[in-house]
Symmetry: D3
Subunit: 135 residues, 6 copies
């Protein structure tokens, strides 16, 4: 349950409605996810978050599906149930197959395992990994 | 500093050497990273970890570079310095450009931000995200 | 569901009851939260935790509401649902407004984002941040 | 060591220089921290992050020092060395005393402890914490 | 709810059934936990995970109950509800008493507290902890 | 580097010296670790932390070595370098062999992997794990 409940479209201020309308247009959907309806209690954060998401998740050097896979990797590692569920749905909408999802989780699981092995064995960073390179 | 120092190639047991040789062959390199030399104190873990990595990071439904990006997303989120450094180097070797790296980190940063917003606002999972689908 | 259920007031040992009575007196409440009723299976931990909380959360160089905001920041970052819910309620009882809560979450989200950016870019600590100062 | 080194002021593009100039003006400083010089390889992220930080950390319902304390709480909980060091320095510049810092860390430590106790005992959220309230 | 639902024994492929049969034989149980039925959508991960678990959790230098306690420590620290619940049940089946569970959680809580204190005070590692020793 | 440097024995207040003396006596050592010398800037936290550690890490239903292994599991999972190094040293002093250390890290790594798999597959808790039992 969101702490302050949700800001539904009909009760939203014009400022919030403008963001909702943009979400609906960009996402080609007719419903607003709970996440947006919860943070809408803070219109500044709603607007900033949506504008950032729109910019960051747009096609660029990485394609949108790859970006969703990265989003899932972070959400699973943080143990965020909402984010895992919603971005798994987003990734599917963008073409993630069952085989891709399984491989994604296998990599996430493995990375979490070796992260702890390298921390536990207190492995120092190899010299060649420390040299900055040209972008 | 690895707790027990490193198992260098020359002092390695035949069992460990066999894994090192496979790493060198598969990775087309002539040096073994500190990570492997540290966990080699436990030959069973060395072997299991290498075999799993080889299987998981191979081309499949996801390409090897995408898998490295996912590995970085996990490592950064866990705050693992060694893993961040080594997989950033691996990703570069597999073709990650500066622009891809920057977009990757932008997504990782954003995902960590919205993960906390959704936890903090205690957002409940939308009904449509709960329905299991066919793989 | 607490693993071992809850220790309700009526079934509590005198040792546990004494802590419960102190919680009721200090917090000016007539009910004991589930957290205390769960850890009461371990009276030593119940007593030590309550005594520590009472000492740490008391007014000092930081006021009690500021301390609750910090508690929420930790709980959200750890993804602890129970702690996020209970300390959000505590903070409200101590005067947190909706505007304060929104700003709190905006800072928490932002901090989680820049934490990952600085880890991902492997930023070394600036020299001027390393110099110890007088308390 | 930043993966791609730093973007120093003199080599920066006009777009990056404009952000650096604003940081210098707003922060009343004459040097740019390593964090900004590292993320400047991605001018879009540099600009977005700085604009967000400026908006979020400005005085509002919470004062700037309280926001720095919250930033430290997140950074310590995430184990982010850079962020802990830099925001501890920022907090001091905004008036954090040694006594405030000690209390801050005591709360952070305690919150991390009780977060784990409530997870380990699998404590379910009290009914009264679930009811949404008016902002 | 598992994203793709569960793979029940009756609908399982021969490959998955073979793993299920081994789980039933080794664990001396007649039911398969949800965890296995969820990851069975990825037979390679199911097999690799089960084989690794079987090898790692077997009696060795550490006894199986101690290993379960360690598993709980990790799961609680990661805030993983499923893993905390299932390994707490496993530990009980292997002889964990209420007193052991309470002490386990007290150590987990304390470790999380001092982890943050040492990060927050930016404590550098003592020289004597850096010297590698013989295994 | 500790933010405020260290409180060395010779400059310590009588209150801090009393804790240092007790650490030296209980631990049968003649030096104080950096951790204590850093948190000694806050004598109340120094005293409370030491008293709690002494109580929690004492022999009970779990032996002291098992408790150190649990401490390492938490510290590695949190990515706390200082705590991993210092408690690995403590565990060795209490009899942890190289074989035990390797098995410990194997379990920690595996647990981190399966934690993420169960989160990623959004596995719901089995009904039988939800029933509270008698301590």
């Amino acid at each position: 349950m969101a702490t302050f409940g949700f800001v539904e479209y009909d009760q939203a201020s014009p400022e919030v409605k403008a963001v909702y309308d943009d979400i609906i247009a960009v996402r080609k959907t007719d419903s607003i996810n709970n996440f947006w309806k919860a943070i809408a209690h803070d219109p500044a954060t709603l607007k900033r978050t949506w504008e950032s998401i729109k910019q960051i998740m747009a096609p660029g050097a990485l394609d949108p599906l790859t970006k969703e896979l990265i989003y899932i990797a972070v959400s699973v590692t943080n143990g965020c149930e909402y984010c895992t569920a919603s971005h798994t749905a987003s990734a599917r909408n963008k073409g993630m197959t069952g085989a891709m999802f399984s491989e994604l989780l296998a990599v996430i699981g493995m990375a979490n395992e070796t992260n702890r092995l390298s921390t536990g064995y207190q492995v120092e960073v190899d010299q060649q990994f420390k040299t900055p390179v040209q972008p």
